[in-house]
Symmetry: C2
Subunit: 151 residues, 2 copies
């Protein structure tokens, strides 16, 4: 591996990274299902709404989560049906739809988020400040360079 060419190393690294995130997502999916009877996409949408702490445009939501508009609509629809989120028409522009967590949604999410954070902490417990620093530098480099091409 020492003298492998760059393109091959980049490909292998990407495949390994992908594998790691898939495995982690699988673990977290099962965790959320067993402990909170919810799914990753629901959790992700609720996390984005909670983070915003004020109504979010559908288009901003899908942009933030890197999913299609149609997908955001579908997940929000189910959250709404369960009383966890609510949609309201935008004030000025009548095309706009804003979404926010309901009180129930906020309470439910906060319980989920605490456990989720603890589980992520467990999954990455082998990474200390030093490794996190190194990883941050690398992520920063990738984010800088791709800017738009990726997210």
């Amino acid at each position: 591996m020492r003298d492998t060419d760059l393109p091959t190393r980049r490909l292998r690294t990407w495949l390994r990274l992908l594998r790691l995130t898939r495995g982690t997502e699988n673990h977290l999916r099962e965790y959320l299902r067993l402990n909170h009877d919810t799914t990753l996409p629901r959790f992700d949408v609720m996390a984005a709404l909670h983070r915003a702490n004020s109504p979010v445009k559908m288009s901003d939501l899908s942009r933030q989560l890197l999913v299609s508009n149609g997908n955001a609509t579908a997940v929000v629809e189910r959250l709404e049906k369960e009383g966890l989120a609510a949609r309201v028409p935008g004030e000025g522009d009548r095309r706009v739809v804003l979404v926010a967590l309901t009180d129930k949604g906020r309470a439910v999410f906060e319980a989920q988020a605490a456990d989720h954070k603890a589980e992520v902490d467990r999954l990455f417990s082998m990474l200390g400040h030093e490794e996190l620093d190194a990883l941050r530098d690398i992520l920063h480099r990738v984010e800088e360079a791709s800017d738009g091409a990726i997210g």
Copy 2:
């Protein structure tokens, strides 16, 4: 961020990593769709079959790709319908089903894979040997520790 506690740093790093892989997957999905009229799951399955270079058990396939058995069945079914892969019953154990690329499938995949590798190389062109070394060490650490919990 300097003096943020470890659990929070781990969570933020995970979210950033997830975002990076989502963005990269989105880019590669579009790339494969536009240039090779195919999808990521199809590509992944064909890559696993090509890599094995001999018929693969359905269960090994889904384990390798970290997807459910039902998912592997569905994707293989579509590849088979297009003449890119073929299923044959296992020799000894009659429950077993083996899958392999057809000649056409192999040829199609090799063309896709070359372009895919070049595109990944482009996406990660900001990472040189040094960063790849650092990333490898971190990935190794995570893989070692999670062993089973994740992959």
